[in-house]
């Protein structure tokens, strides 16, 4: 197994010398019972960059994101956003940080008891930044940014197709203009064309907002489209970082095996026979 010291790896996600990375993880560990999910994750995400975290099912990608978001408390390690240790923040600081973060969940996680417009403007309403009347107009504006007609706002999430739900979820993630956005498997369950459409929207939205993005996926086409940089998580560690465009021919046997979907290679699937 190669590690970060391997000459084949290129820490392309590292910010310029002296610059503070937007998101910095050092030695983050998390176990659930006897299972060590994260075993010392080190990751830097430069401001304004889009980082894609790759890894097999159960490799700890979602746990990594949830640790950064504060939904899961790591057992050890350091997580910094803009140079501030998020694990030592007060409740107020944490809430203020949360106001700057957006998240697109794998299955959308839209609130099915609320109409689409209220879903989209949920954060703005929660923060009392706009009235309910203004929220309808704002929702129409944001829905237009993700290619949906304003009339969709009055529908219930259950009335939408999978692709439309993803777009609404994207609209909800960007409505409050966050400067950090997380995307959890943004194209899972979508056909390839709709996946490409969602990826395009993600790239547009992130660029327009100038946001820093972390996406987790095992869809290689999606990873190449939405990522500036990529990192590979394997057995609880980041084993490679580099430009997302090189995925498939990085020179790192593990990453190339994963990106090309090959059965043979250093990664062994733990299958019961």
């Amino acid at each position: 197994m190669r590690d970060m010291a391997d000459p084949a790896t290129r820490p392309a996600a590292r910010p310029a010398v002296g610059a503070v990375p937007k998101i910095r993880m050092r030695g983050v560990r998390k176990a659930f019972g006897a299972k060590q999910v994260l075993d010392g994750v080190d990751l830097d995400v430069a401001a304004g960059h889009s980082m894609v975290v790759l890894g097999g099912s159960g490799s700890g990608k979602s746990v990594t994101i949830k640790c950064i978001l504060g939904m899961i408390e790591p057992d050890a390690g350091l997580i910094e956003i803009d140079g501030k240790d998020v694990l030592r923040m007060s409740r107020g600081e944490r809430e203020a940080l949360g106001d700057r973060i957006g998240m697109l969940f794998q299955n959308g996680a839209l609130f099915d008891s609320l109409p689409v417009w209220e879903n989209v403007c949920f954060k703005l309403l929660a923060q009392n930044r706009i009235s309910r009347t203004q929220a309808r107009d704002k929702a129409a504006e944001v829905l237009a940014q993700v290619g949906l007609d304003g009339s969709v706002g009055d529908l219930s999430p259950a009335e939408l197709s999978g692709g439309m739900q993803k777009r609404v979820a994207l609209a909800r993630a960007i409505a409050a203009q966050p400067d950090i956005i997380f995307f959890d498997e943004p194209t899972t369950g979508l056909d390839p064309i709709m996946g490409a459409v969602i990826d395009g929207l993600i790239v547009d939205c992130v660029k327009r907002l100038g946001a820093t993005a972390i996406s987790i996926t095992h869809d290689m086409a999606s990873a190449r489209r939405i990522g500036d940089d990529a990192a590979m998580l394997y057995r609880g560690k980041i084993v490679w970082t580099g430009p997302a465009g090189t995925l498939g021919h990085t020179g790192n046997a593990m990453v190339d095996q994963f990106a090309n979907g090959e059965r043979e290679g250093p990664i062994r699937m733990e299958l019961r026979r």
């Binding site: 949830k66 978001l69 504060g70 939904m71 106001d99 969940f105 996680a109 954060k123 929660a126 923060q127």
Partner: protein, 262 residues
């Protein structure tokens, strides 16, 4: 040989720890939810929605339960008391039984089946579909948003439902007493109000508030901690109804002791 002795003890110990962990978890959950009663922001719209769901939409089932219970109580009391020529006590038995015990307990059991299950299913589904995590990322505390309004609504709604149940239950007894058992209406009502004391009604309303808290607490807690997809949500719903029903009956005894034991 050792394992034959130790295995049952170990199992007992594990079960005891699990019970302690659950009780502690529910207590901390309740304290967290209650702490949001005095910490803004407040979700009045959600409180009102939960209140309408509990108070208004539970009214038919609670009303029917109360009326039929009053009717059955009058009939059964008559059958029993006629043996001792004590039929005149029927009105007082009906009103005291209903206001002190049957009104709050039966209304709570009905609401537990309706609302406790609904809370557990709705919040459980939100849990397994990441909607609760989504709330956290949208600058909203899930406890404050999902749990506290429901707890408050149930604590206020249950006494109102029980008040209606008391009235309708007495009316059910009066209907049977006057139209089937041959009581004079005025005499039946006089008997009813003659024996009724404020403490009877108040104790029933206090019980109702406690039962409302228990129903909402178990419903929200079971939903909030559910895991494992559809099966987990189904299990949470069942647990919410069973646990709240048992707690209602157990707390009924405790509160009755507190109010009426000499």
């Amino acid at each position: 040989m050792d394992s034959y002795l130790l295995d049952p003890l170990a199992a007992l110990g594990r079960a005891a720890f699990a019970v302690c962990r659950t009780v502690g978890g529910v207590a901390l959950f309740a304290l967290d939810a209650l702490s949001h009663l005095v910490r803004p922001p407040f979700y009045g719209r959600l409180f009102w929605r939960a209140f309408v769901e509990i108070a208004w939409f539970s009214l038919p089932v609670v009303a029917l339960t109360a009326v039929f219970t009053g009717m059955v109580l009058a009939l059964q009391s008559y059958t029993g008391f006629a043996r001792f020529n004590a039929q005149s006590a029927i009105a007082s038995v009906v009103v005291i039984s209903l206001t002190r015990e049957l009104g709050p307990v039966l209304a709570a059991l009905m609401v537990s089946g309706r609302i406790g299950a609904s809370f557990a299913a709705e919040i459980g589904t939100m849990r397994v579909t990441d909607q609760i995590d989504a709330l956290s990322t949208l600058s909203t505390n899930p406890m404050k948003y999902l749990v506290t309004p429901r707890l408050l609504a149930a604590v206020i709604a249950l006494p109102l439902l029980v008040l209606v149940a008391d009235i309708l239950g007495v009316m059910g007894g009066w209907l049977i007493g006057t139209y089937k058992l041959g009581f004079v209406s005025a005499a039946y009502l006089h008997s009813t109000f003659d024996v009724l004391q404020v403490q009877d009604v108040v104790s029933g309303l206090v019980k109702a508030a406690v039962f409302g808290f228990v129903i909402a607490l178990m419903g929200t807690w079971c939903g909030y901690t559910s895991k494992g997809g559809a099966q987990g949500v189904g299990g949470a719903t069942t647990t919410a109804v069973v646990a709240s029903s048992i707690l209602i009956l157990a707390l009924d005894y405790v509160l009755t002791e507190a109010f009426f034991a000499r």
